[in-house]
Symmetry: C2
Subunit: 389 residues, 2 copies
């Protein structure tokens, strides 16, 4: 199997991009990543695109060749493949791009993620976000995606004594980080009081515990590590790319304060990279809801099960700690364009490992992790990335 | 790159399966393929699922882990990935499964394709089928998928003298073949007169020139060729797996009596396999509309451009000819559950190459082709399959 490296990255602003179409944002991110990789489109072998719900959102399926086409590449008749796994679509697309280069059938590929959520009313976007849970056995009974995560939060509070204030520390951290990210959907500061005082979505989760619906796109260029130095002085090796799945519905799990899919994907990823959680200096993790981030820290092996609330509230995961979490602002504050998220996480980690993250640079970052989740954890994807010089 | 073989196949009946859910048909095909491969689910490494529009059709995205879950495999936390490319979704999923095994990261994978089209009204299914064309520049102006293929048919008639009767020979052939396929949606015989007399959909195409909306699922098990003999006496090698794309909208093409995506995918596939079109004894090709099959025969290199109408009407592609086309009955008569089609084509070719196609067995079949198309050809996928003993 060939070693694979990230050679270029690109990303649009995340937010309410009412004046820009799905195809426009998809192309912007893709072309940025090609320029960044110093690659001409003539070198490109394929496109893999992560997107969750373009059929429901913009009545358009078959979007991978559409993006290729509007990027001016239709004449080369390259393969273009869309990959979907709820909110994990972007990271799954990266896994497919990784396999494509690792197999040797393709040399250079672009992996993009894009979603246009604000062309429909918020209530419709909320319905569509819930289509990543079990429609037949959860959603039709009113158990929407935030309601299901709220169940997990309640159970975590019950079992481990996690407090409402500890949950609220997650969005406060996210907005604090996003303040230095020009691409972020929300850059305003939040206080614990504001989070606690915000209207309820599904108790204990309030409006400010839930990531927003955003438009946005991100892209990375992958290629063989052995040729990476022709394109960049700081090639970033994909040390591991692992996917794991679980039941689509919460009720079929043994317990739900852990995402087994994350536990397994992380275990496989650290085994593939021959590294341990303590080696990670910077991580982008899934924080679609406050509880998601706490569970992720535990399931990825960064803290003991049940301890994430207290550890997070202590400020341990800030910019100066041994492990900096979500320097981009995460899904909560950078934004949550479903299919773009998993790719954007990797864009941020690559920028951090290259030392190109400007105001939000984490010191001494040479090994990083990206963690993307679909629905209530029926899919988890973990990527480990390493600076090779 | 490792050589990849098909070790097992499975398929449900295609048709109006009103008493069965999406998850039920997906599981039936998958389990059949595992049994056929003499593989326990404990050997399995991943699932790749082709599906076009479950979000719009059954309000359910994130369906790959759902199928894995309902197959009883959630406890193993295997990776499960959905792939989408309009009507080519199934063949694209097969390409991803092929890359997964070829890369060496996975040993045994299931590739499934499934679609449940009859849970919505036909008019809704028609709308959804058109979401594989360009929504913004074609569909909103009334250019639905059959209307676009009708334009191609008119142009083919104008340029090459293809006749209405020659087009009608395509569904007549399809129904004739499907008469021997117990899984087919339609097994009744058709006459040229019936096809010509059927109500118009988009002239020159009538109702009987258009493949139906079907429910159905199909699956194959892939593994490394070097281990294939442990599972089967007749391993079928994937000699080539190639994808090519083109503009999403017809108006942006140089001309539209050829699908350049098919021409390129076929050229790459024959180069990868070091074989030529004349080596193919049996082929499953895209015949969603009568004109689709004629263009495919030309674009795949089986007949000279412009000659397919005459050649097809001569009966050359029947069971006893040098090249038998669509022994399953094709999309027209076996049925057209979008995301399942590309996988079902490969199931049929594998059965033919193994000599297990019963009443519809094609004599001397040792090398076959499967050709799947999305929309109006923004995606084409070509697989070449070879019996290795």
């Amino acid at each position: 199997m060939r070693e694979v490296a990230v050679l270029g990255v690109g990303q649009t602003k995340f937010g309410e991009l009412w004046d820009r179409s799905f195809r426009e944002i998809g192309i912007e991110a893709g072309l940025q990543s090609l320029v960044d990789a110093k690659l001409s489109s003539a070198d490109l072998g394929a496109l893999f695109l992560g997107n969750m719900a373009s059929g429901s959102l913009i009545s358009q399926e078959h979007i991978a060749p559409l993006i290729l086409d509007y990027a001016g590449l239709a004449g080369r008749h390259l393969p273009a493949v869309r990959v979907e796994g709820g909110g994990a679509s972007g990271a799954l697309a990266l896994h497919q791009g990784y396999l494509a280069v690792a197999s040797g059938l393709y040399d250079y590929v672009v992996v993009g993620g894009a979603e246009k959520l604000t062309d429909v009313p918020d209530a419709t976007a909320a319905d569509i976000s819930s289509s990543a849970a079990d429609h037949e056995w959860e959603v039709v009974f009113g158990a929407t995606l935030p309601a299901l995560w709220a169940l997990m939060a309640r159970r975590h509070m019950h079992l481990y004594g996690t407090t409402r204030e500890q949950l609220a520390a997650v969005p406060v951290h996210a907005h604090d980080m996003a303040g230095k990210n020009p691409n972020a959907h929300y850059r305003n500061k939040l206080t614990i009081e504001q989070v606690l005082g915000a209207g309820p979505v599904a108790e204990p989760l309030g409006v400010l515990d839930c990531a927003p619906f955003s438009d946005g796109a991100a892209a990375v260029v992958l290629g063989p590590l052995e040729e990476a130095r022709r394109h960049t002085d700081t090639p970033i090796r994909i040390a591991a790319s692992q996917v794991a799945c679980d039941t689509i519905a919460l009720q079929n799990r043994q317990e739900f304060t852990t995402l087994e899919s994350t536990v397994v994907a992380a275990r496989h990823a650290f085994a593939q990279a021959r590294r341990a959680p303590r080696d990670v200096r910077v991580a982008e993790i899934h924080d679609a809801y406050s509880i998601s981030a706490l569970m992720a820290l535990e399931d990825l092996g960064f803290v003991e099960k049940g301890r994430a609330g207290a550890e997070f509230a202590s400020g341990r995961f800030g910019r100066d700690g041994p492990l900096t979490v979500n320097p981009s602002g995460g899904l909560k504050a950078q934004g949550r364009p479903f299919g773009a998220v998993g790719v954007a996480q990797v864009v941020e980690i690559v920028r951090q490992l290259r030392g190109e993250a400007k105001d939000r640079q984490v010191d001494g970052a040479s090994f990083g992790l990206a963690h993307d989740v679909g629905g209530t954890g029926a899919t988890s994807v973990v990527h480990l990335l390493e600076r090779t010089n």
